[in-house]
């Protein structure tokens, strides 16, 4: 009798996890697993600036990765293997980046893949990753980070979005196609943070391409530090040189400071604000509530930029609906519900599909080396949670087909569209007695291929 009870208990113990394991929704179509990895762990090795200047973007990324891992692990992980993360903090210091990479690359076995975040880190590690045959994935990145100094050599870093150079090209194409919406003789002043990220979109190729679209990029870009108190000198340098569009490759306080300065100087009617995908981030909209324009809306209202993925408000997309639901379930704050959180989910789902395809082909996790993962990625076509499309099958190492132009606006009081003025806007009372305005992104175009603007790229004039 005891043996029978013990047997039943053991059976229950064995069956319960399988019964408790939830199913993935139908819209997530992972490949079939040909191997069972139950009991094993696949680690996403990530290093980024968790405590330095970019931490306010990296922290939501980590939140997205953590929530996505918990969600997928509860639904079978990678063929039964648990997905885990190993996050290392560089503090924005490249010496730390190198130290962490040295640690990873000397592990036995060394990681087959890593998740990168900063353009500068990509540029630093490009050659080393190739030498160590470690695959890396990054959101966007610079030409030098992906294609090297000559801009023409594929490396081991793959971008899930168009490069920053491609993004400014998309914007110029939009200006050229919609000239009536922009000032006459559109002249773009480039204003950003110094460094690999901030300077990534200002290249001879982008200048030439924009000129072909009827947009002149001024010869002298302006750079300011993220800690700057006032940037009116930088803005006026560009405006005096003829700029009527200010384009920035910065994030969080960067676009906010530019917009605030434009309002301060009374230039709202004279210049259009534009920027990289990060310039449309939630953080920019939330920060901007301290500087209102003449219409009573936050100064960044109307900033135009790239949106190479689905956005939080597109709830008709099942992936977006799922992320909204999970963010609410995990009590993620409004400031965490940003681009990086979305990309965290996208990265985890991409890793899962990448590993499923690879281990199914090579037979085991041990055999899924960097080279094998790369071989899979080179032929992979996938849309992680429908956020964006990955298609490296044509020999590209970045996602060119997925870009669209959007503008940041603020929700109206009835919650069904953009506000036209401060009086019309939805205002959320905050504990300090002030109000927050809810940023929304309004797509101005559909998804279309971004111009290829790396040196020698197909669209470089």
């Amino acid at each position: 009798m005891r043996k029978l009870i013990l047997l039943v208990v053991l059976l229950l113990v064995a069956v319960t996890p399988a019964l408790a394991q939830e199913e993935l929704p139908e819209f997530i179509q992972h490949s079939e697993c040909a191997v069972d990895l139950t009991g094993q762990t696949v680690t996403i090795y990530h290093f980024g600036d968790i405590s330095g200047s970019y931490a306010f973007i990296t922290q939501p990324l980590l939140a997205g990765v953590a929530d996505a891992m918990a969600y997928f692990n509860a639904r079978g992980g990678i063929c039964g293997a648990t997905v885990a993360a190993d996050n290392r903090d560089t503090g924005g210091d490249q010496a730390q980046t190198q130290a962490h990479y040295d640690y990873y690359s000397t592990l036995d076995p060394k990681p087959a893949s890593i998740l990168l975040y900063a353009s500068g880190d990509a540029e630093l590690l490009r050659e080393q990753l190739a030498e160590d045959e470690i695959l890396a994935m990054i959101s966007a990145g610079s030409v030098a980070g992906l294609y090297g100094e000559d801009g023409m050599s594929n490396g081991w870093i793959y971008a899930t979005n168009p490069l920053y150079a491609d993004q400014i090209g998309s914007f110029c194409r939009y200006v050229g196609a919609n000239a009536a919406q922009f000032p006459e003789n559109p002249t773009l002043g480039y204003i950003s943070w110094p460094g690999a990220f901030g300077e990534a979109a200002y290249t001879p190729e982008t200048i030439a391409y924009c000129a072909s679209q009827g947009v002149t990029i001024l010869e002298s870009p302006e750079y300011f530090l993220p800690s700057a108190t006032d940037i009116s000198g930088n803005v006026l340098n560009l405006v005096d040189a003829g700029a009527n569009i200010l384009y920035t490759n910065s994030l969080a306080s960067g676009p906010f400071m530019i917009a605030k300065t434009v309002v301060d100087l009374g230039l709202e009617e004279d210049v259009v604000l534009a920027g990289v995908n990060w310039a449309l981030d939630t953080s920019v909209g939330l920060l901007s509530r301290t500087a209102l324009g003449s219409d009573g809306l936050p100064a960044v209202n109307g900033i135009i930029g790239s949106l190479p993925f689905r956005w939080w408000t597109e709830r008709a997309e099942p992936g977006i609906a799922l992320i909204n639901e999970q963010a609410a379930a995990n009590a993620r704050s409004l400031s965490t519900q940003n681009i990086a959180y979305l990309l965290g989910w996208g990265a985890v789902d991409t890793y899962i599909e990448l590993y499923i395809q690879t281990v199914s082909r090579v037979g085991s996790l041990e055999a899924a080396t960097g080279a094998e993962l790369r071989a899979t990625l080179d032929a992979m076509q996938y849309a992680p949670l429908g956020l964006y499309n990955i298609d490296y099958s044509g020999g590209e190492i970045r996602a060119l087909p997925d870009n669209r132009i959007a503008t940041m606006m603020f929700l109206n009081a009835t919650g069904d569209g953009p506000a036209t003025s401060g009086d019309d806007a939805m205002k959320v009372d905050l504990p300090d007695g002030t109000v927050a305005y809810i940023p929304i992104l309004v797509p101005l175009t559909g998804f279309e291929a971004a111009p290829d603007l790396r040196p020698g790229g197909a669209d470089v004039p």
């Binding site: 405590s51 922290q59 993220p226 306080s253 953080s283 509530r289 301290t290 965490t336 504990p431 002030t434």
Partner: protein
């Protein structure tokens, strides 16, 4: 060769001055045509902005100078003290109902530290106990002010009490044990403190940028957010940001107070004596420990003021401590021990930065090069800074 060397040695001062004058004349000859080509409103705008931004640099520099005057230590943690002070202000500004435990605990601990600057034993005197009790009562009453009508008063009280507490904790547990040790050890300790403060701020407030809305109420006081003038004189109006103007005026007021403090009070003189030689100061009866504690409390309060003003002008973020790096040239330029020098240094660096931005657009000269170039030139000519004390050491 020997003749040449001896001639140089004999006339070193004259030759150095002559070289400086030649460099200055060449610089002026080079800059005048460039300046002449500028639009007049830009020149005025850059001067105004440089002056106002220089006020913030000067305020930061003053905090560093205060520590240096009292202890001879260059405080590398000042930037993080700024951010921490700004975040404390924000917390009390945005929390309508402070928990009673925090409202009582914070001033109680701060009071205990204030009244035990000369050692923990001094706490158990009647005078100290009354002092701590009074401080706790007043502090708790201010921190418990409910609602948003009193948020400024509550935030100022919270930032002052919190700032004093942080400054004294750093002094008591990090700096004091090193009294009498080589100054280099204390300098390294400030670096360690900066890392600790970095961790504390991130663990407590996270990494998100926080907009601090301290200046949005200015229009309600009849002060427009921007003051514009010169439309009739120039092709475009010159703009003065009211937030920066307020910061500048506060910086001037702080300088006036501290110049008077160091010149006319015995505490100020004691600080100067302590900076000169801690052991000697102690041997003539000065309470070195108390002096150091007071200096750290004052410097942290100044850092807090600078943090709140900078947070209001841009935002509270992990980038803010790097602003202190821009004040370092101001400190060295003015002279490490000079309060007035910090003001002049801050303003000079602000002006140099803005004028370089104007004259050399697109070169990053203003942010990355010019302040340090000016610093280098000044230090070559005057190694102790413009107003620093000349040190003569017996060897």
């Amino acid at each position: 060769m020997a003749t040449l060397t001896s001639t140089f040695t004999q006339h070193r001062r004259t030759l150095t001055r002559a070289a400086a004058i030649i460099v200055a004349v060449l610089l002026i000859l080079w800059l005048v045509p460039i300046l002449g080509g500028q639009r007049s409103y830009r020149l005025v705008q850059s001067l105004v902005t440089g002056l106002l931004v220089g006020g913030i640099y000067a305020l930061i520099a003053l905090g560093i100078v205060i520590i240096n005057k009292a202890s001879g230590v260059f405080n590398f943690a000042h930037g993080w003290l700024m951010l921490l002070g700004g975040l404390l202000f924000f917390s009390f500004f945005s929390t309508a109902n402070v928990s009673p435990a925090a409202a009582v605990g914070l001033p109680l601990i701060a009071g205990a530290l204030v009244f035990s600057t000369n050692g923990w034993r001094s706490l158990v005197t009647r005078r100290s106990l009354i002092g701590v009790g009074g401080m706790t009562l007043v502090g708790a009453a201010l921190l418990l002010l409910p609602g948003n009508d009193w948020q400024f008063l509550r935030a100022i009280a919270g930032a002052v009490i919190g700032g004093v507490l942080v400054g004294m904790v750093v002094e008591r547990f990090a700096i004091r044990p090193l009294i009498g040790q080589p100054l280099f050890a204390m300098v390294l300790m400030t670096l360690a403190a900066s890392e600790l403060l970095h961790g504390v701020t991130q663990l407590t407030w996270g990494s998100v940028e926080i907009p601090l809305q301290v200046f949005t109420g200015l229009p309600n006081l009849g002060i427009p957010a921007q003051i514009r003038f010169g439309e009739d004189l120039f092709e475009r109006a010159v703009n003065i940001r009211a937030d920066l103007l307020v910061a500048f005026l506060l910086a001037l007021a702080a300088f006036a107070v501290f110049v008077a403090f160091f010149q006319f009070t015995s505490a100020g003189l004691s600080m100067r004596a302590t900076a000169e030689n801690q052991k000697l100061a102690q041997s003539v009866g000065l309470r070195v420990r108390t002096i150091l504690a007071v200096a750290w409390a004052i410097a942290t309060l100044l850092a807090t003021v600078a943090g709140v003003l900078q947070g209001g002008a841009s935002s509270l973020s992990l980038n803010m401590p790097f602003l202190a790096l821009r004040a370092f040239p101001a400190v060295l330029l003015g002279g490490l021990e000079s309060v007035g020098g910090a003001l002049v240094g801050g303003i000079v660096i602000g002006l140099v930065q803005e004028m370089s931005n104007l004259l050399f657009p697109g070169t990053e000269a203003g942010t990355e090069l010019a302040p340090y170039l000016v610093l280098m030139v000044v230090l070559v000519i005057r190694p102790d800074g413009l107003f620093g004390q000349k040190r003569i050491e017996r060897i």
